[in-house]
Subunit: 325 residues, 2 copies
């Protein structure tokens, strides 16, 4: 069943059928109704590939998400998908491995599929060569959604000011008489590096020396618990409070403290559902995922419509206070 069949059954030419389908030109009402009724009767749907070949677009957006198992990122994808679909855009999801080669391969694959734009979730792009990104963005607009900006033509970023947020919360901890804050993260890279900068900012702003309280677990979050427990056991007496790079690490921290019979204020990151599922409920930094997704989608849609789009959009994070601090 193709447009020729419809044309024949309707007693008109394919041009007219195409016009009816796309509403690209005036068609006599009577003719139009006839064609529409044939389309309804036959259940005809235009071939998406032929349309794509003509329009040079499938209305498909590539989304790259390296860490999908992490509920934080799946939330991002879910919100993004919703906002894009509201604009008639579909999402092709690629979750490559963590290596640079895999990520590059994933981005190339997306481009090869002819996506209209690519969204990079998280700070993936920071590890890729500038040249590679520039090469991709030369022909395919790139949108990043993270805490960091990349200054290249045709790449647009929505950032959450995590550095500022960490500075604020650490300052609050210090002001609350808890000057020795332990920062727990997986690796001191990317996002965590930025958070740690905010941590240092706070001590500098308060005129205090930086405490030597940094714990990069060096492993996946899921495996971090014993490492955190050991560290806390050995250093409990010189830790006033704990800040973690994500809520999962904060949950493990709470658990480890519970086992050790100690108690310290803990602040997590991402304000995920988990923060309400643990005891005590977790105070957490909310980087406002939904708002970032909304802005990214809006930028993307505007870009596809050839509008001017800011290269950089920054929003601030928000501390959600619960029981743990």
């Amino acid at each position: 069943m193709n447009i020729y069949d419809i044309a024949e059954k309707s007693g008109v030419s394919v041009s007219t059928v195409s016009r009816v389908i796309n509403g690209t030109a005036r068609v006599r009402e009577e003719t139009k109704q006839k064609v529409l009724s044939v389309i309804r009767d036959t259940g005809f749907q235009p071939n998406a590939f032929a349309q794509a070949l003509n329009f040079n677009s499938m209305g498909m957006i590539g989304v790259l998400c390296t860490n999908f198992a992490d509920s934080y990122y799946s939330r991002v994808v879910a919100h993004l998908e919703k906002h894009l679909r509201d604009n008639n855009l579909n999402v092709t999801l690629v979750c490559p491995g963590q290596t640079i080669a895999e990520k590059k391969e994933g981005i190339r694959a997306l481009k090869a599929k002819g996506v209209d734009a690519i969204v990079l979730i998280g700070a993936t792009f920071l590890e890729l060569e500038r040249e590679f990104i520039a090469d991709i963005s030369a022909t395919c607009p790139l949108f990043t959604l993270s805490y960091h900006h990349l200054d290249l033509p045709n790449v647009h970023s929505v950032c959450c000011d995590e550095r500022g947020a960490v500075k604020d919360v650490v300052t609050k901890l210090i002001a609350a008489g808890l000057p020795r804050v332990l920062f727990v993260c997986e690796h001191i890279q990317n996002s965590n590096n930025t958070k740690y900068s905010g941590y240092r900012d706070a001590y500098e702003a308060c005129g205090l020396p930086l405490p030597e309280l940094l714990l990069p677990t060096g492993c996946y979050t899921a495996e971090a618990e014993p490492i955190i427990a050991d560290f806390l056991a050995a250093n409990a007496d010189r830790i006033d409070a704990v800040l973690t790079g994500n809520d999962e690490l904060a949950a493990f921290t709470l658990k480890a403290m519970h086992r050790l019979g100690i108690s310290r204020p803990v602040v997590g990151f991402n304000n995920s559902l988990l923060s309400q599922q643990v005891i005590p409920e977790l105070t957490s930094v909310d980087n406002r995922v939904e708002e970032m997704c909304r802005l990214t989608a809006a930028n993307l849609v505007a870009k596809l419509q050839k509008q001017e789009v800011p290269q950089r959009t920054v929003i601030s994070a928000e501390l959600v206070r619960r029981e743990s601090f």
Copy 2:
């Protein structure tokens, strides 16, 4: 830049270029190398839409996932995407709302985009009219990944025997001297209905009357905590143990019990990361997501290669014991 440009630069015809690209026929080595070098130099990539129009395929699989916030489902998507990509298939993800209309719209949209097959994650399909499913599957193979089977041509299911798993675990609880098991779920529908059947099976097999201990919270998991807490407060003295439809509900149950100063064995469902993040660690029924995804992808790939594929594939669940029981 298209195949004609490459042909011209290489001094051959487009047919030859196409042969080199697709390896569909013998080409003299020398010619081949010349063409390949031109392709490399120019960075040429065949137009995905034109290829799709010819092959009537983009190598795209539609994945429908209604409940994404739930980390259980995002795990499914992640595993599925990996296994499909390993077979050169990409994933178009649609996360529609929970209403039937939205789900149908999502499935239609996927089909309209020309996906090679559609995977329905969860029991979504049970609410849709058989006729609708049959209409879709008439021209697009459907794969379901859940606890339930659907007997229609061109639809294939991978199921985890959750009913049997629940029967087993409830039987174990009864045998452990805990005959009054409360079952907590969102609604007594779909998956939960099946689980509850397993629950009844257990009592029947043990020759015990069914206790009136069913708590459908009637709300989203995230909002369930107070409801669980109230129920436990009012009924603690007639509850020996708790079984929940997912780990999140189990976490809230543990939390509520902690607040109430009571303690009962609790068994969750899905064996998610959360089960290791709470205190006490959660005993949970593992429905072996990764295995289900592997099987689904394998079936799907076989189907696209026109091989015979079983309509129904069943695997058993596994109880992962931790501290909570």
